[in-house]
C-alpha cells in the first residue's frame, strides 16, 4: 500500500482503519433504448487509499469525479464493481445483508442536503430513536428518550425539539439533527459527504466547529468529502485530490505547498476564491472536465494541463512519493 502509515505526525495513530485496494466502480449507461451498445462510466478507477484511525481525510474534487460514490461504497450503500475495502482488516464488501446491518453501528454518514436527508413525516424524536430501535432492541422507551435528549444536547440543540418535524427547522439545525443521528451509535468512522456545502456561511462555520469538536471528543475518523478546497484544507489532516475517478494527489496538510503539487491541485486552489485578494496572477484551468464516459487517454488531466508533455496522453502516470507521505500522480515528478 503506497500510503500505509506514511503520515509522519506524532499525534496520529497510523494504523489504517480502512484500506481500499484497487477499487473500481463502473456504471453501465444505455446509449439508446434500441441499440444494445452499453457505455461504461468509470466512476472510480482502480483506487487505492488508506484511512488512518483518528484522522480527518479530506477528499476534494469537482462534481462527477467520483468522490461521493466512493463514500457510498465505503458504507455499502452502492455496490462496487471490483476491489476490496477492508475495515479493521476484514473485507466489508463481501458481507451478507445481516452483517452489513451490524456494521452500520461502526460506520455512519452525514449527508449533504439537510432538507432531503430527514424523513419529513417523522418527528425529530422518532428520527433519532431509530438507530437505537434497530441496534439496541432491549432498551426501554424511557432509556431511548434519555439517549435521544443527550444526543440533541451533544449537537447543541434543545431537547424541547423532540416532538417537532424536520420542516420546522432551519438548514443548520437540520444538519445538526443529521449529525446527531450519525453519532447515535458511537461510530468509529464517519463519512461527511458535502456536509456543509448546502449551508449559509455563518451556519457552515458553526457546523465545521461542531464536527471538529466531536471528532476530538470521540476520537472519530472522518472521510471529509467536499468541493471547496478552503473548507477541506481547514478540516483535514491529509487531503486526497480526485479527478475523474482517480486520486491524483495525496498530501498531508503540513506538506501542502503550492510550488510542489499536481497541476490539477494547483488549478483547483487558484480557482477557489479566497478572502485575501492577492496580486498573484490568477491561474485559470482551461476547458471543462471531460465526461467520464469517454475519459482522455493516459493522464485524465492532460487536455487541460499547462505542463503537458509528450508522454501524458500515452501512459497513466504512477503514484510517486515525492516526499514522506506526499504522493503525486504526475509525470513531472517521476
Amino acid at each position: 500500500m503506497f500510503d500505509a502509515g506514511s503520515t509522519k505526525d506524532g499525534t496520529m495513530n497510523n494504523t489504517p482503519i480502512i484500506s481500499i485496494n484497487s477499487l473500481s466502480k463502473n456504471f453501465e449507461v444505455n446509449s439508446s433504448i434500441f441499440i444494445k451498445s452499453k457505455m461504461t462510466v468509470k466512476a472510480i478507477d482502480n483506487l487505492d487509499l488508506n484511512i488512518n484511525k483518528g484522522e480527518i481525510l479530506g477528499l476534494v474534487g469537482e462534481s462527477g469525479c467520483g468522490k461521493s460514490t466512493l463514500g457510498q461504497i465505503l458504507l455499502c450503500l452502492e455496490k462496487e464493481s471490483s476491489g476490496t475495502v477492508n475495515f479493521h482488516g476484514k473485507n466489508i464488501l463481501k458481507l451478507k445483508a445481516k452483517e452489513v446491518r451490524k456494521l452500520r453501528s461502526h460506520m455512519q454518514m452525514i449527508f449533504q442536503d439537510p432538507f432531503a436527508s430527514l424523513n419529513p413525516r417523522n418527528t425529530v424524536g422518532t428520527i433519532l430513536s431509530e438507530p437505537f430501535r434497530i441496534h439496541n432492541k432491549n432498551l426501554s422507551k424511557k432509556e431511548v428518550d434519555k439517549l435521544v435528549c443527550k444526543l440533541l444536547e451533544q449537537v447543541e440543540l434543545s431537547p424541547d425539539y423532540y416532538r417537532r418535524y424536520p420542516h420546522e427547522f432551519s438548514g443548520g439545525q437540520r444538519q445538526r439533527i443529521g449529525i446527531a443521528r450519525a453519532l447515535a451509535l458511537d461510530p468509529e468512522f464517519v463519512v461527511c459527504d458535502e456536509a456543509v456545502s448546502a449551508l449559509d456561511v455563518s451556519i457552515q462555520a458553526q457546523i465545521l466547529n461542531l464536527l471538529s469538536e466531536l471528532q476530538t471528543k470521540h476520537n472519530l475518523t472522518y472521510l471529509f468529502i467536499a468541493h471547496d478546497f478552503n473548507v477541506v484544507q481547514y478540516m483535514s489532516d491529509r487531503i486526497a485530490v480526485m479527478y475523474l475517478g482517480r486520486i491524483v494527489e495525496l498530501v498531508p496538510i503540513e506538506k501542502l505547498d503550492k510550488n510542489y503539487m499536481h497541476p490539477y491541485t494547483q488549478g483547483l486552489i487558484f480557482s477557489t476564491p479566497s478572502l485575501q485578494p492577492t496580486n498573484e496572477q490568477k491561474f485559470v484551468i482551461k476547458g471543462e472536465a471531460p465526461s467520464s464516459v469517454n475519459p482522455p487517454s493516459g493522464c485524465h488531466f492532460h487536455p487541460r494541463c499547462k505542463y503537458r508533455m509528450g508522454i501524458c496522453d500515452k501512459a497513466v502516470p504512477p503514484m510517486v512519493e515525492v516526499e514522506k507521505g506526499h504522493w503525486i500522480k504526475c509525470f513531472i515528478y517521476k
Binding site: 469537482e62 462534481s63 432551519s170 438548514g171 443548520g172 439545525q173 449559509d200 456561511v201 455563518s202 451556519i203 457552515q204 462555520a205 458553526q206 465545521l208 466547529n209 471538529s212 468541493h227 471547496d228 478546497f229 478552503n230 473548507v231 484544507q233 481547514y234 478540516m235 496538510i253 488549478g267 483547483l268 486552489i269 487558484f270 480557482s271 477557489t272 476564491p273 479566497s274 478572502l275 485575501q276 485578494p277 490568477k282 485559470v284 484551468i285 482551461k286 471543462e288 472536465a289
Partner: protein
Amino acid sequence: MSEVCLKVNKLKTSFSTPYGKVTAVNGLDLVLHRGEVLGLVGESGCGKSVSALSILGLINSPGVIESGQILFDGKDLLQLNNDELRKIRGKKISMIFQEPTTALNPVYKVGDQIAEAIMLHQKVGYKIALKRTLELLSLVGITSPEIRMKSYPYQLSGGMCQRVMIAMAFSCKPEILIADEPTTALDVTIQAQILSIIQKMKEIDKTAVMLISHDLGIISENADRLMIMYLGKVMETGKVSDIFNNPLHPYTRGLLGSIPKRGTHRKYNKLISIPGTVPSLINMPNGCAINNRCQYAVPGLCNKKEPDLIKYEGTHYVRCWKYQGWDNE
C-alpha cells in the same frame, strides 16, 4: 466617480404569505455607476435576489413593490407599464441566473435563442443576428461556435450554458448586467472561467454589473464595491478594500470569520461563527435585525430601536449603534 446609471431609493418589496406579510427588501438605497461591479452579499433570505428582480420588474404575485423609486435613464421604472419595461429588459438591463441549464428554452437551438434576443431589440434580420451571435459566442470563449450554436441546451454542459447566457445578456450591449449567483451551480474551475468572462465583457461594453453572491470570496475578487445585506436591509456598504481591511459591522466581521481561509487549520484557528440561525422573515426581531445574534448588542437599545445606515468615512457606510453613538437616543 463615473456617471451614475441606476439609482434605487427606499425600495420596499414584500410578499403576502398565509402566515402574514413578509418584507423581503426593506428600504434599499443603491447607486450603480457605469463600468463598476457592485457586489450584493448575504445569506439566504437576505433579499439580494428579490432586490435584483424588483429592479427588472419581475416580482410576481404574491410579491409586490410597496414603495420606492428605481431611477434609470431619467425614468422611474416603477412607473412604467409592461410594454415600456419590456423594451428596457434584455436591452438595457439584462440578467443571468443561477441555473443556466433551466434558464434556456430546451426546445430551441442556443444560437437561435441568442439571435432572437438580438432581433427583438435591434431591428436586424436573421442573417445579421446570426453573424453577431457567432461573434458573441467566440467572445465568451466557446470553442468552434459555428457548431455550438446549432446545439440544443441539453447538449451543453452547465458552464457552456452559462457562457451562452452571458452572450445573450451582452447581445444588446446592456448598460446594466444583473448576475444572480451566476456560478453557484458550477464547479470551481468553471466558476473562475465564467467570472473572468463577465469581467472581460464588462470591460468591452463598460457595463455596470450587479453581482449577487453568497460567497464573500467571489465578491472580494470580482467586485469594486459591495453591500452586505441581512433580512432585507443593508448592514454595511463600501469599497471592497475598505470593508475587507476594516470591517465595521459585527455581522460583517462574523461573516469574514466564518470562512475558512487559505492556510488556516482547525487545530490552530477556530472559526468565529455567528451564533444562532437566520430568523425567518415572519418572525423578524425588533430593533436591529441582527441583535439576537450579536455579541455586542446592548439590551434596551439594539433590541428596541433600529440604527440608521450612517457614514463612517468616504463611501463606507454602516448600520450599527456602535458607530452611531450608543447614547444617541
